[in-house]
């Protein structure tokens, strides 16, 4: 009996002890609640964001007294009135919204062929190359990428230097709206391709072959077979690109050079330049609402697409 006891490995004893502890604090009759226990840490962590939103909502209702630089103790909606009437914010909001729509459209146009080629190619080499070319910029971060564009497009940048060599006067290629749009499209491409690819993988290649054998050329096959079936991917990609570009900060700040501010830049300025936390919080809250409305609208109209996280329902 004693010999058998020593032959019992330490690992087993540790596991037994852990099982014992687990069974003591979480008996089998709680088993139905286990998934909720597993979800709890994530729910709490995301709860920080909810708390943050509540704080923002609280701050948005307090107005700044410009003589004492104190925030009022009582609530008022003066900040919201200011945010909705001041022409500057309307210009900024319109600029961001238009940009988000253009960027989404352009990004999807380029992301679809990229994802399609990546999924359908027969060559594993080409697939890997396309994946690496996609992930490298995705993993590098916005600031470094925007810095790269400054080197290329800046006033003394490569393009202008090269143009100078053939006698063309330097052009202003950055600090304007198209530069910001371009930077955003580049930033969004990996997101869009990664959301589209799983949806394209799910389309059996035989369907395309079938459409072809029934006499459809590739354009008709795309329009009537591939694009409709890829809809979940387009929804996922569209939502991600739309919201991320609408709310982006770094690209307008770096490639816009202060002249092309988006909503996020205006919010940042309210907090850190003018120190009007109340107005900044108001703008932030309105941006959150705008983003949620856009996402909610797309989800309500088309479903969650490739953004769904839970069990797959075939």
């Amino acid at each position: 009996m004693r010999a058998a006891r020593t032959a019992y490995p330490l690992k087993w004893r540790i596991m037994d002890a852990l099982e014992g502890i687990a069974a003591a604090i979480w008996p089998a009759r709680f088993r139905r609640a286990t998934p909720y226990l597993m979800l709890l840490p994530a729910v709490l962590l995301v709860g920080l964001l909810v708390l943050g939103l509540i704080q923002i909502a609280d701050a948005s209702l307090r107005t700044l007294d410009t003589t004492t630089f104190q925030f009022s103790d009582d609530y008022s909606i003066a900040n919201f009135r200011r945010a909705l009437t001041e022409p500057l914010f309307l210009v900024v909001a319109q600029r961001s919204l238009v940009a988000a729509l253009i960027v989404t459209a352009v990004t999807l146009v380029f992301a679809f062929p990229y994802a399609y080629l990546m999924v359908r190619t027969r060559s594993p080499r080409l697939r890997k190359f396309l994946l690496i070319a996609l992930f490298l910029p995705f993993f590098i971060g916005q600031v470094v990428r925007a810095y790269g564009w400054l080197i290329i497009l800046g006033n003394q940048g490569m393009v202008n230097e090269a143009l100078g060599l053939i006698g063309v006067a330097p052009m202003r290629l950055i600090y304007n709206y198209p530069a910001v749009l371009f930077g955003l499209v580049q930033y969004m491409l990996p997101f869009a391709v990664l959301m589209l690819a799983p949806a394209l993988t799910a389309i059996p290649e035989e369907l395309e072959a079938a459409a072809g054998s029934l006499g459809a050329n590739w354009v008709r096959t795309f329009i009537h077979v591939v694009l409709p079936l890829a809809r979940p991917g387009f929804i996922g990609a569209g939502v991600v690109v739309l919201t991320l570009s609408l709310t982006d900060f770094a690209v307008p700040a770096i490639l816009g050079g202060g002249s092309q501010d988006f909503i996020a830049n205006a919010i940042y300025d309210q907090f850190f330049r003018t120190s009007d936390q109340g107005l900044g919080a108001t703008l932030a809250l309105m941006l959150v609402a705008l983003g949620s409305i856009l996402v909610g609208l797309v989800f309500a109209l088309f479903g969650a697409g490739t953004l769904a996280m839970g069990r797959s329902r075939a």
């Binding site: 597993m38 962590l45 920080l48 941006l287 953004l307 996280m309 839970g310």
Partner: protein
């Protein structure tokens, strides 16, 4: 690919434009970091490693990089258990209010980064923990958590529940089932997710910008602050650190789970 000629011409034209656009900044930053001159010119004034020598001497850059690693490590260490448990729960169990919980857990993506960042800044400010590094790590974890959960659910849906029942039937208690059957099955997802979390936290800019002060700037914030003044090649040399990290992450991802995992349909 069995298509017509025009199809491949159109596809390849668009893909080539996308490829050039995607790669241009990386290539240019790499090239600029090796320039011999004091400013970045085209064509470059010879090749040299002097900017790398310069940045290896600069303690502020080194400290900023170490701080960034600190933040990314905190983020990943928190994200692994939290995201793995949540991912398995969502993938395996029929949870009540599943749809609501899903939408709730997607909040980090639907709330704009500037909103999340400012909210966290206000909370951490009230709690008196602003100015430390670990809250920045927690913040990076919160805003990217859906990536971790996604990665885990994607591999957990491939796990046959009968395997766990079989293990239990052979007498394995719940924890042993979890560690010997469930966890190994979702490991590819955990690896993918944690690599993503680490690299995204390493690059996180806006939330860092809102949560750090001058004493604890992270590397992306430091680069951003320096960009505004003047473009010198030492910035390009630091940026290469990010390119190198990115390359390592891709290599690991490809080796450990295969990049093709991102093409899988759910």
């Amino acid at each position: 690919m069995n298509g017509s000629r025009s199809k491949s011409v159109v596809l390849w034209t668009l893909v080539t434009i996308a490829l050039v656009t995607l790669s241009a900044p990386t290539i240019v930053v790499l090239g600029a970091s090796f320039t011999g001159g004091n400013i970045i010119t085209f064509p470059p004034d010879g090749l040299s490693l002097r900017w790398y020598a310069r940045i290896s001497q600069a303690s502020d850059l080194r400290n900023a990089f170490l701080r960034t690693l600190h933040v990314a490590t905190v983020c990943t260490i928190v994200a692994i258990p939290v995201g793995t448990l949540a991912g398995i729960a969502l993938a395996k169990y029929a949870v009540r209010f599943e749809k609501t919980i899903q939408i709730y857990l997607l909040l980090p993506f639907t709330i704009p980064l500037i909103g999340s960042g400012i909210g966290l800044m206000l909370i951490f400010g009230n709690a008196g923990i602003l100015g430390q590094l670990w809250p920045v790590g927690i913040a990076c974890c919160v805003i990217n958590l859906p990536f971790m959960i996604w990665a885990v659910t994607a591999s957990a849906t491939g796990l046959d529940p009968d395997l766990e029942l079989a293990a239990a039937n052979c007498g394995a208690p719940p924890l042993q089932v979890f560690f010997s059957v469930t966890l190994p099955a979702v490991m590819p997802g955990v690896i993918t997710g944690s690599l993503l979390m680490f690299i995204l936290a390493l690059n996180e800019f806006l939330v860092s910008l809102l949560l750090v002060d001058a004493r604890i700037v992270t590397l992306p914030v430091l680069i951003y602050n320096s960009i505004r003044s003047i473009i010198t090649p030492d910035l390009a040399a630091i940026s290469v650190v990010f390119i190198a990290c990115s390359a390592v992450a891709i290599f690991l991802l490809d080796r450990l789970v295969g990049l093709d995992i991102f093409l899988k349909s759910k």
